[in-house]
């Protein structure tokens, strides 16, 4: 959060021990979670095989599309971790798009929030690798092809592993935050002379960026998991 550029009518539940900006982000994250939870409860209630409802088709289509994309990207068996990836995708998507509602702020425009999401992926990656190919093979994978150079390879791979959450965090933060600042600045310029609701014109542009960033935030963990577990390597060899 940057002072001096109010994004909207920010409000936050006054939790003790948190600053105002943290309260705003925490409240909006809670709103996103409640929205997803309640809407999925309502969708699941009217579920049926013979006469699927409209929302059921939307949800199933989204999940099928994600699964197909993962299979296409890293080969067969790619959609094995669909629950984790899809929940990341839906959460980040709703979190990006909630700033359309006046008064809400995207919780993904906060560095700490994004770091928490990226750390889930960071800790899940070696777990997936060890579950699939075993601890010994996982270490061997890290050591590289030549035994003499294995310490160097291990250090390089580990540093590369640490750079992933940083890039995941800053990519999401920069995109969403930059967009919010753009909207705030354009709104300010437009309201200098006369109040023009130009935000209505610009907000649809944020739909594209929010969707693409959520897709990327779901697709990159898939590739990390594939690299850790060695999927798709048999096909190339």
């Amino acid at each position: 959060m940057i002072e001096g550029l109010p994004v909207g009518l920010e409000f936050g539940i006054p939790f003790p021990g948190l600053g105002f900006q943290d309260q705003v982000i925490f409240t909006n994250a809670l709103i996103v979670m409640a929205l997803i939870f309640i809407s999925s409860l309502f969708i699941v209630r009217g579920i049926s095989l013979k006469r699927p409802t409209r929302w059921q088709i939307i949800l199933e289509g989204t999940l099928n599309w994600l699964a197909n994309t993962m299979e296409e990207t890293i080969g067969s068996g790619g959609s094995r971790y669909l629950p984790l990836i899809a929940s990341l995708f839906i959460y980040v998507l709703v979190g990006n798009l909630i700033s359309i509602i006046p008064g809400c702020v995207s919780p993904t425009s906060n560095l700490t929030h994004n770091l928490a999401l990226a750390l889930i992926v960071f800790f899940a990656t070696p777990v997936v690798g060890i579950m699939h190919i075993g601890f010994k093979n996982f270490l061997k994978h890290r050591m590289g092809p030549v035994l003499a150079l294995s310490p160097l390879f291990f250090v390089l791979e580990t540093i590369g592993e640490f750079s992933r959450p940083v890039s995941l965090t800053i990519r999401l933060f920069g995109n969403i935050r930059g967009e919010e600042i753009l909207i705030a600045v354009i709104n300010k310029i437009a309201s200098m002379i006369y109040y023009i609701p130009i935000t209505v014109v610009i907000l649809p542009l944020t739909l594209i960026t929010g969707f693409v960033q959520a897709f990327i935030f779901a697709l990159l963990p898939t590739i990390y998991f594939a690299g850790a577990a060695g999927w798709g390597e048999e096909e190339h060899k």
Partner: protein
């Protein structure tokens, strides 16, 4: 392309001495005012603090962030164009693989765009969350 780059570099090189001369003028002005009234030693210490003018500080930050964003946009635009061109050629050659190529292209574009976003974050920190502003403004 090379012409535009050289012109931007020339403008940058020309703008550096201009800001330096501005800074020197400001500094010399403060020196003159203090030399005329250097009866007490306290005033000279004030002048030493005043050498670092906040106007120059904010001006240099504005110029630096604008140039950083411009250079990042140039690099990102060129490399994204190259990636998109090769992806389109691949789709034209093999239209049945368009789905796979599209995903790979989006991934490549996002990795390139991340570098520009890093610059944006640095510029935002410089402009809005600069840790050294409190030493200048006081």
């Amino acid at each position: 392309m090379r012409k535009a780059l050289t012109i931007t570099l020339l403008i940058m090189m020309l703008s550096i001495p201009a800001t330096l001369t501005l800074a020197q003028e400001e500094a010399s002005e403060t020196e003159v005012t203090t030399h005329s009234a250097d009866i007490k030693q306290e005033k000279t210490t004030e002048a030493e603090e005043g050498e670092f003018s906040p106007i120059i500080y904010f001006m240099s930050i504005a110029v630096a962030s604008a140039f950083a964003m411009a250079i990042a946009a140039i690099g990102a635009a060129i490399s994204q164009a190259r990636a998109a061109v090769s992806a389109m050629e691949a789709v034209a050659r093999q239209p049945e693989a368009s789905g796979k190529i599209q995903i790979q292209m989006i991934l490549a574009l996002v990795f390139i765009e991340t570098l520009a976003i890093y610059t944006l974050v640095v510029v935002l920190i410089l402009l809005f969350a600069n840790p050294f502003t409190k030493y200048v403004v006081g």
